[in-house]
């Protein structure tokens, strides 16, 4: 067991930075802003060492990252359409034309997830981690457990419906 606080913190970053990034990205939908949120989250954690007392590390980090991302959101909402387009290209995500050509199902679905409203998208992304149940997600987002479940069902229904429509269109074209 390591006792060096910096080593402990470095281990935390190694362990959870991807998770924190996903939470931030689910709110902000912008790679650079999501990285800024990750930096801010870990800097805050480095200063207050709050994760050491947390019962559920991921739930604690999800809440911290979500709050910071929500605080950053007004800044990202002011971003122009051109900047968003440039970010999509620089982040390595395929453009709609590329997606159409490659018929990349995952990229399609990522676009559909991005198009979901915030209140459905963030619980859906958090629920993709096995360690987080509806209660943990509710704690992180400040929602009742029942509300989280309802939103998860609605998100999945919406995505399924859109995917079915896309499938019908592809079959029709074929």
């Amino acid at each position: 067991m390591t006792t060096d606080p910096d080593a402990e913190f470095a281990a935390l970053v190694e362990r959870q930075s991807r998770f924190v990034y996903k939470v931030a990205y689910a709110v902000l939908r912008h790679t650079h802003d999501a990285e800024d949120a990750v930096q801010e989250t870990f800097l805050k954690l480095y200063r207050n060492r709050g994760w050491q007392q947390a019962e559920n590390e991921r739930a604690f980090l999800a809440r911290a990252a979500w709050r910071i991302a929500v605080d950053l959101k007004p800044r990202t909402e002011r971003r122009t359409a051109e900047e968003l387009e440039a970010d999509v290209l620089s982040s390595g995500a395929p453009s709609p034309e590329e997606m159409a050509l490659a018929e990349n199902a995952h990229a399609h679905i990522h676009r559909l997830i991005d198009a979901l409203p915030d209140e459905l998208r963030v619980p859906l992304v958090l629920a993709s981690f096995e360690e987080l149940n509806s209660r943990d997600i509710g704690t992180a987002l400040g929602l009742p457990e029942g509300t989280v479940r309802t939103r998860l069902q609605r998100a999945r229904q919406l995505l399924r419906a859109k995917l079915e429509r896309l499938h019908v269109m592809e079959v029709g074209r074929g």
Binding site: V38, Q39, V125, S128, R156, R160, L163
Partner: protein, 185 residues
């Protein structure tokens, strides 16, 4: 139902690969945190400079700045206890040490001598206020009284007492005016 399951599986797969960060996120986070958390080396020299400036300021504020002779200085408790001889003390100082017009050192020396003079107790007077010698007019009047006879002295004393006594004025009575034609009728 099979189609439903397939869509769910596709969704789960997509969610697991959703929002993947650019490679090297961990290193960037650690670098950013260490850069933000550690104090900037360029500003380290500001600490001793700031402390020195604060110390100088504190000394400036804490040091009482007194002029050698304040214009409205309160009298010392000793002078306040014996107000009457103060004039004599000042007179003694004037005679003993002529106050120079310039120079704080001279003034301080004069003040020190004044303090020494103040500490010596002055003799008590038998009669207060102290009698002063008679003027020429007073001496002439005293000679005149001494030369006059006893009767004249008594008369002079009576006149003095009379002059000092309050003036009594008798009540004024006005007789009623009678008309000269009244008796004729």
């Amino acid at each position: 139902m099979a189609k439903h399951d397939e869509l769910d599986r596709l969704l789960d797969e997509s969610l697991s690969s959703y929002a993947e960060p650019v490679h090297g996120l961990e290193e960037r986070v650690l670098r950013g945190v260490s850069a933000s958390a550690s104090p900037r080396p360029r500003l380290l020299w500001l600490w001793p400079a700031g402390l020195a400036a604060a110390a100088v300021l504190l000394l400036f504020v804490a040091t009482p700045w007194r002029s050698p002779l304040p214009p409205h200085a309160a009298p010392s408790p000793q002078i306040a206890r014996t107000p009457a001889p103060q004039r004599d003390v000042v007179r003694n100082v004037d005679k003993a040490v002529p106050l120079p017009r310039h120079g704080a050192a001279h003034l301080q020396r004069a003040v020190a001598q004044t303090t020494v003079a103040e500490q010596e107790p002055l003799p008590k007077l038998d009669v207060f206020p102290s009698p002063s010698p008679l003027s020429a007019e007073e001496r002439a009047l005293a000679g005149l009284v001494a030369r006059s006879s006893a009767q004249e002295q008594h008369a002079l004393l009576a006149a003095r007492q009379q002059a000092d006594a309050p003036i009594r004025i008798s009540a004024i009575t006005v007789p009623p005016i009678s008309s000269p034609d009244k008796g004729k009728e």
